[in-house]
């Protein structure tokens, strides 16, 4: 093994010169506790940065708060185990994190582990390989592990890839194809640019194609803020006129008095945030000041903040008081297809709010216990699923509301598919982000005029995509070169 020593900048023999790898080692999907394993020379460093504490005593379960190393936000509180090498499964330094099994927690912890410079996700069988290499493994175990890997990895990867929405897998495959072509053109330029008659526009074509790919990739990654939602929670803002029951709604949801609830209009002047888990997904509710015209300076500031918050949230819950709704008779009698839309836009414009097209607005009829049953029934029939009917104080309709809301949140977090597929998608997203970062480097290096260094970044970018769609072989690159260029003597 070789290491680059700082002084002489050359390789010499030093043991343990390896990257640090991590993986979710408990079963995929939602479970009570999830176990994440880390192995390699950087483990102690990773552990200390995650827990912001010195290393726990070896082989003893210790309770620690786990932080994201860069954002320093709290990810979870869980059991941490530290196995200094060689007395560990792999023979290297190993740590285990036992965290809550919710998808959001697992995902954000994996994300945190991936954010270190020298860590990477373990390849299938890699823990086993390392443990074998360090003489830790009874080889009769290898086969059992192989079966496990077979069941869990390759098959799974293929399956996940196959099961991806058709458009998505086509998109990945198409990106790979374009990147492959760009790389092939660069390789042709490097290996044959001097001897052969290459099309003089080769480099321009590479630049154009990488640029358009890069832009698409960035747009895709920014799309719907899905990654951010998974980390920080889906932002839901509760808005409405004063005293329609916004705070009561939040309290009913939280099942604890998180916000001050009182019958006096204008009580909630600042924003009250409450974060919790909805079907495994992180959600942040913001209760805001009731919206009305007023001369009260403090209240106006509250209203301004409420409006601003609503405009940056993923979902706006517009709460109305069913018992005090002037438009109610008109709504019941009206024949337009989606009568609630006019109500929503009317209210929002009254509040002076402008929302973007990817923001969702749901209408929530509160205090339905005060409505005559006929009126309620006819409302239910007329209004589609993005309208909810509850009575916060009487606990009516809350279950249906929460179920409906969970579906919406799932959707916002990247599709209504099962958790496992979501985890896969999260990995895909990480690979795509790395790919995009590589392309950023590509442009910098290309400006520095060393086309070989720039090409290296394209190779690496291609590898990132290859982790989703399957490997890229040199032969494929050569295939493109010889298909598209006339190379010969």
């Amino acid at each position: 093994m070789a290491v680059l020593t700082r002084s002489a900048c050359r390789f010499s023999t030093l043991p343990g010169e390896k990257s640090t790898i991590y993986a979710l080692s408990s079963g995929k999907g939602k479970s009570g506790v999830a176990v994440l394993r880390i192995s390699g020379p950087g483990t102690s460093d990773v552990l200390m940065q995650l827990t912001k504490k010195i290393l726990p005593p070896p082989r003893l379960a210790s309770l620690r708060t786990i932080y994201h190393p860069t954002t320093t936000e709290i990810l979870d509180r869980g059991i941490v185990l530290w196995f200094p090498g060689p007395h560990s499964f792999t023979g290297e330094d190993v740590a285990e994190l036992h965290v809550h099994g919710g998808l959001a927690v697992v995902r954000s912890t994996l994300d945190a582990l991936g954010s270190f410079a020298r860590t990477r996700e373990a390849q299938p069988g890699e823990f086993t390989k390392r443990s074998f290499f360090n003489g830790k493994m009874d080889l009769t175990e290898a086969e059992g592990v192989a079966d496990l890997i077979h069941a869990e990895t390759e098959a799974q990867r293929r399956q996940a890839y196959r099961q991806m929405a058709g458009s998505l897998s086509r998109k990945y495959a198409e990106w790979r194809e374009r990147l492959l072509r760009a790389r092939a053109f660069l390789e042709a330029f490097i290996d044959f640019g001097e001897d052969e008659q290459l099309d003089p526009g080769v480099m321009d074509e590479v630049k154009t194609s990488v640029q358009s790919l890069h832009e698409e990739l960035k747009a895709y990654l920014n799309d719907h803020r899905r990654g951010e939602r998974l980390r920080n929670g889906v932002q839901i803002t509760i808005v409405g006129e004063p005293n329609v029951g916004k705070s009561s709604l939040l309290n009913a949801l939280c099942l604890r008095p998180a916000a001050i609830v009182s019958p006096i209009a204008g009580t909630t002047r600042d924003i009250v945030e409450s974060a919790f888990d909805l079907g495994g997904y992180p959600v942040v509710f913001s209760d805001t000041a009731g919206l009305r015209s007023t001369d009260d300076l403090i209240e106006n500031e509250g209203i301004r903040r409420a409006t601003a918050r609503a405009q940056t949230s993923d979902l706006i819950l517009l709460v109305v008081d069913s018992s005090n709704l002037p438009e109610l008779p008109a709504l019941i009698d009206s024949s337009p297809q989606r009568p609630h839309q006019s109500l929503i836009s009317q209210r929002l414009s009254e509040f002076g709010m402008q929302i973007s097209s990817d923001q969702k607005v749901h209408l929530l009829f509160n205090k339905i216990d005060l409505l005559p049953p006929d009126a309620l029934n006819s409302l239910r029939e007329k209004f589609p699923s993005d309208c909810h009917f509850v009575s916060c104080t009487e606990d009516q309709g809350m279950t249906e509301f929460v179920t409906g809301l969970t579906d919406v949140v799932k959707d916002l977090c990247g599709g209504a598919s099962v958790g496992e597929a979501n985890l896969t998608q999260q990995r895909h997203r990480q690979h795509l982000q790395q790919c995009s970062a590589r392309l950023d480097h590509f442009w910098t290096l290309l400006a520095g005029e060393d086309v070989v260094l720039a090409t290296h970044e394209i190779q690496q970018a291609l590898r990132c995509i290859g982790r989703i769609t399957g490997h890229v072989y040199v032969e494929e690159v050569l295939e493109v070169i010889f298909r598209d260029f006339c190379i010969g003597k």
Partner: protein, 686 residues
Amino acid sequence: MLRHCVRELHSPKKSWTRGTPVRVWYTLRTLRLFASTSISSPVGEHFDVIVIGGGHAGTEAACASSRMGCRTLLLTHKLETIGEMSCNPSFGGIGKGHLMKEIDALDGVCGRICDVSGVQYKVLNRGKGPAVWGYRAQIDRKLYKQNLQKEIFSYPNLTVRAAAVDDLLTKPGSTDNPATVCGGVVTSDGTTYHSKSVVLTAGTFLRAEINIGLEITPAGRIGDGPAVALAETIERAGFAMGRLRTGTPPRLDKRTIDFTKTSVWPGDDPPLAFSFMNERPWLKAEEQMPCHLSSIQGKEVVKIVKDTLHLNRHVKEELTGPRFCPSLESKSLRFGHLAHRIWLEPEGFDSDVIYPNGLSMTMPVEYQMKLLRLVPGLENVEIFRSGYGVFYDFIDPRELKPTLETRRMPNLFFAGQINGTTGYEEAAAQGIIAGINGAAKALSKPPITINRTEGYIGVLIDDLITNGASEPYRMFTARAEYRLTLRPDNADMRLTEKGVTVGCVGQARQDRFRKMKRDLERATELLSSVKLTGSAWKERLHAGSVNISSEEAKTAYKVLNHPDVSIKQLTSALREDIPELYDLAQQPWLADRLKIQATYSAIVKEQRFEISEMRQDESLGLPDDMDYDLVNLNLSDEIRGKLKSTRPSTLAAASRIEGITPDALVRLLRYVRKTPRHVTEAVAFV
């Protein structure tokens, strides 16, 4: 061939009566025909290593084996064709130049000979970063042959004889290793030579046929006969063989070319040497000969090609042929609309021959003339010899171990074009490895293997033995995963130490290498010892425009990483503080290498994890006789088939076979043995 059998039949009992069963040698041929009765007696000379073939693979193999201290015999059809450059009059190029630097790092001969035989030296890809610089030279054919022969005929430990080898001496294996073992050769006149190892470098001569138009002549090269008996011998031993085709262009008469219609391409100033042993090649910049560039394009070309298709056996069969090195015919058919570059390359100082690189063709001669005269500058050209195609047998290189020894017949090594490669440099690279390992085997020493993280030679051999060759294999830089680390400038730092360990590096080179290494390391150390803030650097370097961030303190080595900072600038700025560095950097080679090394240091650092992990996998060896049918391995039929045909020598090699799954690799783990960590010795990789 019947002759040997009869001869051997006459003295069958001798070795029995003398009671020396160990020394019972069969020839392959007798083995088949008279297996139960024929036993030959061991007469003839003994050598440690026999090399068959005097081409670029054979000469490197023979010299390497001799340097290792083995009594070596080189057998070739004709002494006067030793060192013949059968095709283009040039050595090196992009990827190929890398191979030459590596051969030189192992103390090989071709780089040094090129340094005293060139007519023009030019580094290709100057504008694309030093990792892909292609050292290349136009070579005087006559001089190359002369210089190489002079070297070969006086090489210590090396005997050279002219003879055609027809047969191999073999011996049945022992009970614990049942494979038939090779132990020498029999030449066409019946002479027997014994040796501990045999290196076969038959090039394109195995059952070779030359093809012009529809005409086919059995010949290895114009004027040289093919090796038919030897091909049959190899086939009989059970080696998987295939057929490849290649071609060469017509040779033009310089006096009939109008060079004013072409553009002139001069050599480099100053010209750079291939060998780490030489500061510069033998020529001064102004003594070099130019090359000329023309091109060919148009409907007329395509028309001639199409009109002669029915007269062109080679091209008709080439449709599935090589994607590179194609004939002009294939290029025109596939890319008719494009212009094709034609390089007019001189063949030597006193030669009237011009080699038109890019015009390989096999159509009947009269049409070749027609076509040539369409090229600007060649309107009145006359030719010395027409272009032709060659068909030849090659051996499936998946039969080989990474040492280039055959798995089927211990002590027999294959190297060069016989393994399905094309090009002098690819051949020489295999030659030196096979020569070293043939000798190592004879000396019972551990062999040398180079893996993909260590050199292009490793990439070449690994590609061949893992994937085989479906077309002639040519080196490109795109094939090397660690291109930024495997640079021409650091080939010595990557390989020479390894060569010293195995014993193939002579004293003179060892001394020079150690001195260069010491200087390089010292200079690097000195550069890393100075640390200043960005603004201090700007002031020192008088480089206000240079974009060095002001706040962060940086070492001189880091600053050198900057494209606008030269080593001269930097060492001058530090002259008073570190006079030693200034003095060291007065050596041009050192200055160049420091700059390159600094440029790539960041990325090399980034790759080092990947490389060390790959090396670890490379040290997990799979036994040669691994039984993939073992029930408890539990491999699928598909994977078993792939592993059986390739027989990867390491777990890393297995993982590179397409379609091998992670779980299959883990299943293989239990049969893996850890090979000695020779791949991981201290190698300065800068």
